[in-house]
Structures are given as structure tokens and as C-alpha cells.
């Protein structure tokens, strides 16, 4: 090869062999090859490197530890987030605020105002914000059939890793209305909504928690009474407008039913 710029370089010959040369340049090269034996010899030399690459490397694919890599990937992708829940959650907040729907239920003596700021209480604050927007109309409609309850609960319990039967979550004197799967801090949050004919909406909410078992305690949030407790794997809260003693009794019942 000479350094004459009109003589195609190895790069151009390679691009020609690889089908990457623009048509005009390829035509010019082909014309040169007709007359330039040295160039044709160089092209022939470079073309010897057109080896069966794909075939040679194919067996390496089978050597990949596919099962292990898939296991690694699935660990990375644990607990994928259900997108619609959060949108609905925020949508509900926004819509209710705009509509000026304010929970105006009369309540309820709870003298101490807890200023708990620890992490484990944040989710209860979020839930309280949400439940405060509920009115009896939010939960209007018939009580779902037992089969419908089971179907709703089974979808929730799968995500939450907690067995929830209609019997275990039943509250005496209060109608179960629906189970809703929400999301808090990228974790599934189960909201079981009830309607108390006397005091209005009531909800039992559950998240996964490894903070350890804690006996029931009480607090007031958004003008509602909250009874909260946890076991080894989950944290629970019962929130509603019913008087504190009634809330404690309901929470005690459901806690025993769930532990049974």
C-alpha cells in the first residue's frame, strides 16, 4: 500500500467487507479493484479474517450460569411496586381536598396528643391523613358477599404475606366494606375498610414490619382514635371515629382473631 490518499485504506477495505461502505464509495472501490492487483490482494488478505465468529462463540452462551444470574436478578427485583395504587392514593387526596371534603365527624375524647415522630409512626400519620377524607358515602353500598370478600382478601394477603380470612378480620357490629391494596414507602399496605352505622368509616391497616412485637397502644390522629400494635412480621392499626373504649375492644377482638 502507498500513502497516496486515493488508495483505499485498510479501514475502507474492512468497511467494504463488512457492508458498511456507502454505495458510491463501494462502487469506486470496486472499480479500483478491477485494475489494482495490489489492492485486490490486500482485500483478499483482510477477507481471510472473515471467520465463523458467531458459530465459534455460540457455545459460550451455554456456559453462562443462567440459573444463578436469574436468581440474582430476581433478588434485585423483589417486591415490584404496583403503580396504580399510589396514583389512586394521591388522586384521592387531591380530589378530596379540591372538593373540600373534610371529615367533620364529631369526636372523641383522647386527652393525650401524641407527638410521636419515630419512623414506625409515620405510616400511621399517612393512613390517618387518608382515612380522614372518608365519609360514610365513601363506603356506601352493599357488604360484599363472602366469596367476594375472600377474593379481595386473597389478593391482599398474597402481597402482604399474611393470612386474612373474612372471619379473622370481621368486627362485631361493623360492616366490612372492602380490602384495598395501597403502597407506603414502596411496601404494600393493606387497608380493610369498614362502616360503623353509628360513627362512620373505620379501617384496619396493615404493613410489613420487623420492628418486633408491641402490645396495643392508643393515639389520636386527625380527630380519630387509633389503636396500634405489631407482631413479629407486621404492624397493625385500627383507626376510626368510634369512642376510644369501643376502638380498644374492636382492636382486641381482631388482634386475637388474626393471631388464631
Amino acid at each position: 500500500m502507498t500513502d497516496n490518499t486515493t488508495i483505499p485504506s485498510d479501514e475502507e477495505l474492512t468497511a467494504y467487507l463488512d457492508g458498511e461502505l456507502p454505495p458510491a464509495e463501494a462502487a469506486r472501490l470496486e472499480a479500483l479493484l478491477e485494475t489494482d492487483a495490489e489492492l485486490a490482494a490486500r482485500l483478499e488478505f483482510l477477507s481471510r479474517a472473515s471467520l465463523p465468529f458467531a458459530q465459534a462463540f455460540d457455545p459460550l452462551l451455554a456456559q453462562a450460569p443462567k440459573a444463578e444470574l436469574e436468581a440474582i436478578l430476581s433478588r434485585l427485583s423483589a417486591a415490584p411496586a404496583p403503580a396504580p395504587s399510589r396514583r389512586r392514593f394521591l388522586g384521592a387526596l387531591a380530589a378530596c381536598l379540591v372538593a373540600g371534603v373534610i371529615a367533620d365527624r364529631a369526636f372523641i375524647g383522647l386527652s393525650r396528643q401524641l407527638a410521636a415522630t419515630d419512623e414506625s409512626s409515620e405510616w400511621r400519620a399517612t393512613v390517618a391523613d387518608y382515612i380522614a377524607l372518608y365519609t360514610p358515602e365513601t363506603l356506601a353500598g352493599p357488604v360484599p358477599s363472602l366469596a367476594a370478600q375472600e377474593a379481595q382478601l386473597s389478593a391482599v394477603e398474597a402481597r402482604l404475606g399474611l393470612r386474612l380470612s373474612p372471619e379473622a378480620i370481621a368486627l362485631s357490629g361493623v360492616d366490612f366494606k372492602r380490602a384495598l391494596l395501597l403502597q407506603y414507602d414502596d411496601q404494600p399496605l393493606a387497608q380493610l375498610a369498614y362502616l360503623d352505622p353509628e360513627t362512620g368509616p373505620l379501617a384496619l391497616c396493615i404493613v410489613r414490619s420487623d420492628d418486633g412485637p408491641k402490645p396495643p397502644d392508643v393515639e389520636a390522629r386527625k380527630g380519630m382514635n387509633v389503636v396500634y400494635w405489631s407482631d413479629k412480621t407486621h404492624a397493625f392499626m385500627l383507626i376510626g371515629h368510634a369512642p376510644l373504649e369501643r376502638m380498644k375492644a374492636l382492636a382486641g377482638d381482631v388482634r386475637m382473631q388474626l393471631a388464631a
Binding site: 485498510d10 479501514e11 477495505l13 474492512t14 468497511a15 467487507l17 463488512d18 458498511e20 488478505f45 483482510l46 481471510r48 479474517a49 471467520l51 465463523p52 465468529f53 458467531a54 458459530q55 465459534a56 462463540f57 457455545p59 459460550l60 452462551l61 451455554a62 456456559q63 453462562a64 450460569p65 443462567k66 444463578e68 444470574l69 436469574e70 440474582i72 436478578l73 427485583s77 415490584p80 411496586a81 404496583p82 403503580a83 396504580p84 399510589r86 396514583r87 394521591l90 388522586g91 384521592a92 387526596l93 387531591a94 380530589a95 381536598l97 379540591v98 372538593a99 371534603v101 377524607l133 365513601t138 367476594a148 379481595q152 389478593a155 391482599v156 372492602r178 384495598l180 391494596l181 395501597l182
Partner: protein, 201 residues
């Protein structure tokens, strides 16, 4: 029954961008997009694990490093799911992530730690080869490619094994197309020369 979709008037989508909580509702669509494409990225990763591992092996010549490279590629791809441009080739994007991890993190770390890589000729070996003529040829190709300098080897692998265009190779390696051309031309000259020496053809 789809529990989360129980209908309530308060859940109407028409109202979701209401101004009462502008900060939260404007952040939300971004998070949703990330979640949506993250599942695409995950399934794309699943489909391409073996190819990514093979590329990691070609780059590093070590199986354990190839494992690491794939794992880190998975982490990075899921983190950056929002950066993937829908409509472009996902496998190319994943190759580019793996390559940048190799270049910027793993290779430099090993050089600093003074750990070399095993000899190229030992690395790219097909188990149970040398039985048939096809295997002899395959083993020779692996040996020849394995002996190329790092930069040429990556270009040859992407262009000739994975079938990427020059433009795609340039994007994966983050280099100009002209550099791809010169690496492939140099690689061809080396391969053709070594083939001759080995008495191939």
C-alpha cells in the same frame, strides 16, 4: 377481582392533577414511568443474561468477573430504567452499561490491586472441544480473538459475533465510528496474519 381498582368517585383520574398538592402530583408521573419501564428492563435483562455474561467473559477472560459484571449491569440498568429510550434496542443499551462498568470500575480496580487476568488462550475455551473439525475451527477462532488487544477484541465481538453495525458498536463503546473502523481493520490484519502463521485456511 381487582381490589385496588374499586371504583369510588373520589378516585377519578380526571381530578388527579388538581392543584391542591402540586408537588406530589407532579412528581408522581415520573415515578410511574420509572416503574413501568423497570419491568420492561427486567424482562429484557432476563432475556439477555447469557449474552451479557458472554460479553463479560470476552472482556475479562474470567468467569467470576463475568458473573460480577452481569450482576452490576442488572443493578445499574434497573436504577437507570428511566434513561432507557423506548423504541431503541435494549440489548445494545445493556451491552453499553456492562462495558462502562468494565472499563470504569472493574478493570481499573483489578489493575490497582495488581491482579492480572489469566492468559487469553486459557480463557475462551469451549468445554469438550477438540473433537471434531468444527470444534477445532471454533477453538482456533476463540484463541485468535482472545489474543487480540482489549479494544480490538471488544469491537470484533460486538460487530462480528453479536452482529452490531459500526454505529451501534460506536455507541456501546462510546467511541467515534472512525475508531471502530480502525480497530476492526487492525483486528482483521492481525487475525489474517496469525491465521496464516498457524497454517490455517
Amino acid at each position: 377481582m381487582v381490589v385496588a381498582y374499586t371504583t369510588f368517585p373520589a378516585y377519578s383520574h380526571a381530578n388527579k392533577t388538581a392543584p391542591a398538592r402540586p408537588a406530589r402530583s407532579s412528581v408522581n408521573p415520573v415515578a410511574e414511568a420509572a416503574i413501568a419501564s423497570e419491568s420492561d428492563i427486567r424482562s429484557g435483562l432476563t432475556e439477555n443474561l447469557s449474552r451479557l455474561w458472554r460479553y463479560g467473559l470476552v472482556l475479562s477472560h474470567r468467569r467470576d468477573v463475568a458473573d460480577d459484571l452481569v450482576q452490576q449491569t442488572c443493578v445499574r440498568a434497573l436504577e437507570r430504567a428511566t434513561q432507557f429510550q423506548v423504541g431503541t434496542r435494549l440489548d445494545r443499551w445493556l451491552f453499553a452499561i456492562l462495558h462502562s462498568i468494565w472499563l470504569n470500575e472493574i478493570r481499573s480496580r483489578r489493575v490497582r490491586e495488581g491482579q492480572g487476568f489469566v492468559d487469553a488462550e486459557q480463557a475462551l475455551v469451549v468445554d469438550g472441544a477438540r473433537e471434531t473439525e468444527t470444534h477445532v475451527m471454533a477453538a482456533q477462532v476463540l484463541r485468535l480473538v482472545g489474543a487480540l488487544p482489549d479494544a480490538q477484541r471488544a469491537s470484533v465481538f460486538l460487530a462480528y459475533v453479536e452482529g452490531l453495525s459500526y454505529k451501534e458498536v460506536a455507541a456501546v463503546l462510546d467511541i467515534p465510528i472512525g475508531t471502530v473502523m480502525s480497530r476492526l481493520a487492525a483486528a482483521r490484519a492481525t487475525l489474517a496474519g496469525n491465521l496464516k502463521e498457524e497454517g490455517g485456511r
